[in-house]
Amino acid sequence: MQQAEPEIIFDDKIEQEIKIEPKDWMPEKYRQTLIRQISQHAHSEIVGMLPEGNWITRAPSLRRKAILLAKVQDEAGHGLYLYSAAETLGIGREEMYDQLHTGKAKYSSIFNYPTLTWADIGAIGWLVDGAAIMNQVPLCRASYGPYARAMVRICKEESFHQRQGFEILLTLGKGSKEQRDMAQDAINRWWWPSIMMFGPPDDSSPHTIQNTKWKIKRFTNDELRQRFVDICAEQVKVLGLELPDNDLKWNEERGHYDFGEINWDEFWEVVKGNGPCNKERLETRQKAWDNGAWVREAASAFAEKRNGL
């Protein structure tokens, strides 16, 4: 069958690595896939502010307080870049928020775990931001222009996030016994959820093939996960701490670390909304939104009034 003209142009651009821009024709499914992925990513940044924001007021030094505040504020900025990128595809921010609040849109499950101690701030930076970077760097070359450009800005800031987390753990690792235990406990709790951040294994990942063809995705979930495990297995030695996996072992033949079985049942439970903090996170977002309604109304009433002058 003959392809319609705009579709040929689109395919050709994808083929030649020319970015698709908002005004270009694109298949409806491409647009929908991007809206879903970008808004989900934006929501993750915003919901992701909560577990760490929880420790800003309790950060144990002024330097840490400033760093954490700057970090969480960066995540808000990332949310902003991504919402703007999604808006270029024809969806409004209010609608995206609505999808978040009603549970229609997802966000990264990792943020449904609680931050119990200060060491969790270290573990999140090192592992969660680390995994996010691994996922995000290839997205800087995603075929949709506004998304790729947002990711470039985001990735620039992410390496600082991972460094500050690693540094927190490094300090704790060199500290008192209580501090070392705190750090190890945080790693024990965050390790498995972090490697689940790469998504289900390739043989049960429904979107991978089409997204790879469209050059939204460049590597498979399992490829990125392996790369992450390999890096962390080395870095944890510098910390003088351990990853909670007895099967973690260097495999000379593969040139990679082997690692233990992931508990995908837990993953799907959290995705379905049964994680430790799903309810709390959504309620917090909803509350912030509702409590702010009068501010937004006032701002638009004011704009109308004064612009009329």
Binding site: I46, M49, L50, G53, I56, T57, R58, A59, P60, S61, L62, R63, R64, K65, A66, L69, A70, V72, Q73, A76, G77, G79, L80, Y83, W118, I168, T171, L172, K174, G175, S176, E178, Q179, T284, K287, A288, W289, N291, G292, A293, W294, V295, R296, E297, A298, A299, A301, F302, K305, R306
Partner: protein, 266 residues
């Protein structure tokens, strides 16, 4: 509760006492209001404004650190402690009655409008204060003030725009802002009574600060279609360590880790 001040020998008669106390007062103001603002992070009504307030909090933490570091340097220079005192000791190892911040800065966040208004009342004061402080005889304080002035200029602009927007927004927002103004007004005169600077031999024109502050507040409040409270019932005491329960609660949260695990690196 253990206090770092027990490890510092600073009699009131010591020539450096005045300047150390004044520097701590400047630091405490910045830290306490920064901390309050940071409580909003992730909970603001509009993403862009959440970011803006976090930015202001960051600026103020930065100012606080500069002042605390200078106070710590003064302790070292004058051999007032046998141990090395750091910026964190002042923030994390003093009790509420040892903090010298104005009562306004410690008031709880209330709704978004209360927070914005608290920032506006305080930043306007800080702006006119720093404008003089940047030329004062103490070159360290002058340098910190000069550097911070650009930030504070923005804080005043941002907060005053929002006071006007919310004051003259909807009937609901107008009422909320008027209530917030009535609630915070009793804490404003403490900003204008000076006191600690002269004991530090820093000569400021307090009357000028008061005139400039009043002028700016009056004009923004009028533009916001709000009414300045006529009450002259003011509350004082922050600079002498007589605080409202809000500060105790805030410090309990802020100092939690340092108090639970004393003497370790973070």
């Amino acid at each position: 509760m253990e206090s770092i001040l027990d490890k510092i020998q600073l009699p009131g008669s010591h020539p450096a006492a005045g300047i150390i106390h004044y520097t701590l007062h400047l630091a405490d103001n910045a830290l306490v209001i920064a901390h309050r603002n940071s409580e909003w992070c992730g909970h603001g009504p509009i993403l862009e404004q959440d970011i803006a307030l976090a930015n202001i909090a960051l600026d103020l933490v930065g100012q606080a650190r500069n002042f605390y570091q200078y106070a710590a340097a003064l302790i070292a220079e004058n051999n007032l402690s046998s141990i090395t005192i750091t910026e964190d000791d002042f923030a994390y190892l003093r009790a509420a009655d040892e903090f010298k911040n104005f009562l306004l800065t410690e008031q709880s966040n209330g709704h978004w409008g209360t927070t914005i208004l608290r920032q506006f009342l305080f930043s306007t004061y800080q702006y006119f204060l720093y404008r003089q402080l940047q030329h004062c005889s103490n070159e360290h304080l002058a340098a910190i003030a000069q550097k911070a002035l650009k930030e504070v200029t923005y804080h005043v602009r941002w907060s005053s725009e929002w006071v006007i927007r919310l004051g003259d927004g909807t009937a609901e927002s107008h009422q909320k802002m008027q209530d917030a103004l009535n609630e915070l007004w009793p804490f404003t005169d403490e900003l204008l009574t000076g006191g600690l600077a002269s004991a530090a031999n820093i000569s400021l024109d307090d009357t000028l600060i008061k005139t400039e502050w009043t002028e700016k507040i009056t004009s923004v409040i009028a533009d916001a279609t709000l009414h300045l409270p006529t009450s002259r019932q003011y509350v004082y005491g922050g600079t002498e360590g007589k605080h409202t329960p809000h500060l105790t609660a805030m410090l309990k949260d802020m100092q939690y880790l340092q108090r639970t695990y004393p003497g370790v690196e973070w």
